[in-house]
């Protein structure tokens, strides 16, 4: 179906259903219950799930298939965001030109950076991309372009946003003053109250979700295409590829540009959800976060990076809001002494310390599960499989993992 084999189609279908039903599925706890803070079904977070999903799907095409570890991918995200906000400032709040331009600009940047960086491989490639990204961060952070040409381009520390006196030449009087798609406002939403639950369905989330699905579909097609096979060949043995008379660089560059454009799309969407941006989106820790997401989920697999992005964004938003009182609540049934000890033990890992949890989880994954969560799932699956085999003859399974 849709040019996919049945396994991929099932996977795609599962992702489609998950994206559509996310506002319900991610809200399992009634809003007045003690566990309501673990609900992830609010629009701001769900948008991040899908937008960072797009970003890592693109990153995976580069790192997962070709094995080139880019440590400066956030630069393209930042460039996309800046391009989109400039479109809002110059034309209007309609997101179509903004998102289109962010993809194009990020594509152009990645052609240049990729052309230069791909002349080296391995650690040198990582450091070259890191150097380019840090350079772009420095340029954006101190608004060098603005100083050079006069006026503002990236607006430095303050960050770029839309002001009332911006030209917005395509803006007609009746238009909404928030990002919209032909009048369809991104931040307006429909709330459905059932029992103790309230589910929020937001336009912006669904638009990002549809684009994420489209990106995901494209990624599956790339993974399964002869072009994707070529990229895998680069990863497994570049020398042998050269001996067979194939120049690997155009393929690698194509992968780099594609993943750069994915990052630009994600950046444009981030700006479309909230029309402001700043240089910190390009800082190298942001690039590191992209790498962490992909590794955590399982690089080189179709669904892994999306899972990784979801887990990281969930932890960032949920673990960082857990404080000591909440933990006290969990262990209230225990004697006071034990309760206090447990809270003291857990304290460094929650709230402001969530980066510590992130670092430890990331290290554990790199050490024990190089294939990420997907490999973990497969191992668990095999474990159950074996038990099943002992009980009854094997049956066909639908393991969705790549």
């Amino acid at each position: 179906m849709l040019g996919l084999n049945s396994k991929d189609f099932t996977l795609f279908l599962v992702v489609v259903v998950l994206v559509i039903a996310a506002p319900i599925l991610l809200n399992p706890f009634p809003s007045d219950s003690a566990f309501a803070q673990f609900n992830a079904g609010y629009p701001a977070l769900m948008q991040r799930f899908v937008i960072f999903g797009i970003l890592v799907i693109g990153f995976n095409i580069l790192f997962g298939l070709t094995g080139y570890l880019s440590f400066g991918h956030a630069a393209f995200l930042g460039v996309g965001s800046f391009a989109a906000v400039w479109m809002f400032k110059l034309l209007s709040y309609n997101i179509v030109p903004a998102v289109l331009l962010s993809v194009i600009v990020a594509g152009l940047f990645s052609v240049v950076i990729g052309y230069v960086s791909l002349r080296r491989s391995g650690i040198y490639f990582s450091i070259l991309t890191l150097a380019f990204a840090q350079m772009m961060y420095a340029i954006a952070y101190s608004d060098l372009l603005g100083k050079f040409f006069g006026g503002i381009v990236t607006n430095g520390e303050t960050g770029l946003q839309v002001y009332n006196d911006d030209p917005q030449i395509l803006m007609s009087p009746g238009d909404p003053t928030v990002p919209h798609l032909f009048g369809w406002e991104m931040n307006s939403s429909f709330t459905w109250d059932v029992g103790g639950w309230s589910f929020v369905f937001q336009n912006g989330y669904y638009l990002s979700g549809i684009l994420m699905l489209a990106s995901f579909y494209l990624a599956i097609r790339i993974f399964r295409s002869p072009f994707g096979l070529m990229l895998r060949a680069i990863k497994s043995n570049q020398n042998r590829l050269a001996y067979t008379g194939v120049s690997s660089r155009p393929y690698a560059l194509a992968a780099f540009v594609i993943s750069g454009m994915y990052a630009g799309l994600a950046g444009g969407l981030l700006a479309a959800m909230d029309p402001l941006t700043g240089a910190e989106r390009m800082f190298w820790t942001a690039s590191g976060e992209i790498v962490i997401m992909s590794i955590l989920g399982g690089v080189g697999t179709l669904i892994g990076p999306i899972l990784g992005a979801g887990v990281i964004k969930y932890m960032e938003n949920i673990v960082s809001t857990i404080n000591d009182n909440v933990v006290h609540g969990w262990f209230a049934f225990m004697p006071d002494g034990i309760e206090n000890i447990l809270v003291t033990v857990i304290h460094p890992f929650i709230g402001k310390g969530w980066h510590l949890t992130l670092g430890l989880v990331f290290m554990a994954v790199v050490i024990f599960l190089p294939g990420g969560l997907v490999e973990g799932g497969q191992r668990l699956g095999r474990l159950f499989e074996r038990r099943k085999v002992e009980e009854k003859p094997p049956t066909a399974t639908t393991e969705p993992a790549e």
Binding site: L69, I127, G359
Partner: protein, 343 residues
């Protein structure tokens, strides 16, 4: 002319720090073949050793001084550091004032043990894995170390002053026959530069003139043959990791008066030190030192007002521009050996 000398001097202290970190990175890469993204974190841990020593020496207890009255007429309560009680007021004050240099004594064993634990506990298992995995696991370790420091010392920079004896500045220009106050250079930066020279010379002498150093150099050149001669090269390489960690640590200790340490400083220095290593040549110790000073000085030239008015912001991107240029024209770096990580 005096401007040029001033900029060279200004570049020296930053260059010293780059050179020391890059030296350790290169040692680790040359011996163990590991790309250590946690090396900046070791620099930062060293800096926090200085903070720890400063706080330990500053520990005080309250005594009631009957001879002085506060504004209510009650006996005055004053805080007296324990060291003053033990060694007398003058000696105690001197100890507190000299806490940064004293921290070196504390930092060396701490860093060697930390390096040893890191190598044996974690990095040992990554020799056979691809460089990307090594980068990733040490990157994760750097996050974890940074967060542990943040949890214990907070996120704000902690001022750690130099000994009072070094607080002033040297009027360097007078020596060379320039006008007074033309070239002013803080004493501590001079100390830092001299200190780094001593450390660098010590590391080179250790590698060049001791039997241990000879074996390590032989191991860097051909690990297998050294192993076949019946030498336990792994053990020596582990010690070299400890040494590299100690170099980064003392570099961090002595840098605290120049830059108040915070938990992020390691990452900032790491990115630049990697660039330094790449410019100098992967695996080349003299290259790392040379490139460290070169880039430090280049950066300070780029931050001159004359240059900045011509090319605004060049000071922040110059190092990366140089790195990109070097990588594309001479990928093995300024002094890299042929065949070491060239592609």
């Amino acid at each position: 002319m005096d401007d040029i000398i001033l900029q060279i001097l200004n570049g020296l202290d930053k260059g010293s720090a780059y050179a020391l970190i890059a030296l350790g990175l290169t040692l680790i890469f040359g011996t163990l073949g590991v790309v250590n993204f946690a090396h900046g974190a070791l620099f930062m841990v060293g800096a926090f050793c200085a903070v720890t020593v400063q706080r330990l020496l500053g520990l005080s207890h309250t005594i009631i001084d009957e001879s002085q009255k506060d504004f209510l007429g009650n006996p005055l309560k004053i805080e007296v550091p324990y060291v003053e009680g033990w060694f007398g007021p003058e000696m105690g004050q001197a100890l507190i004032s000299w806490s940064v240099p004293l921290a070196i004594l504390f930092a060396i064993p701490v860093m060697i043990i930390l390096g040893f634990v890191m190598e044996r506990g974690l990095i040992k298992h990554f020799y056979k894995r691809p460089h990307a995995d090594q980068i990733l696991v040490t990157f994760g370790l750097a996050i974890v170390i940074g967060e542990i420091i943040k949890a214990n010392f907070g996120a704000n920079p902690i001022p750690t002053p130099a000994p009072a004896a070094f607080s002033g500045s040297l009027d360097f220009g007078v020596w060379l026959g320039f006008a007074e106050n033309a070239i002013i250079y803080p004493y501590w930066r001079l100390v830092y530069f001299l200190f780094s020279m001593v450390i660098i010379a010590g590391v080179f002498a250790f590698l060049q003139f001791t039997t241990f150093g000879m074996v390590v150099r032989a191991g860097m050149a051909d690990r297998e043959t050294v192993g076949l001669l019946g030498i336990d090269i792994d053990k020596r390489f582990t010690l070299m990791f400890g040494l590299a960690a100690a170099v980064a640590g003392v570099a961090g200790v002595m840098y605290t008066p120049i830059l108040s340490p915070n938990y992020n400083m390691g990452m900032d220095f790491l990115v630049l030190s990697f660039v330094v290593v790449v410019v100098g040549g992967m695996g080349s110790l003299p290259g790392a030192v040379l490139a460290g000073f070169l880039l430090g000085i280049l950066q300070s030239f780029a931050s001159m007002n004359e240059v900045k008015s011509l090319l605004p912001g060049i000071d922040q991107i110059i190092i990366y521009l140089v790195a990109i240029f070097i990588l594309l024209t001479r990928p093995r770096g300024l002094m890299g050996r042929k065949g070491v990580m060239e592609e």
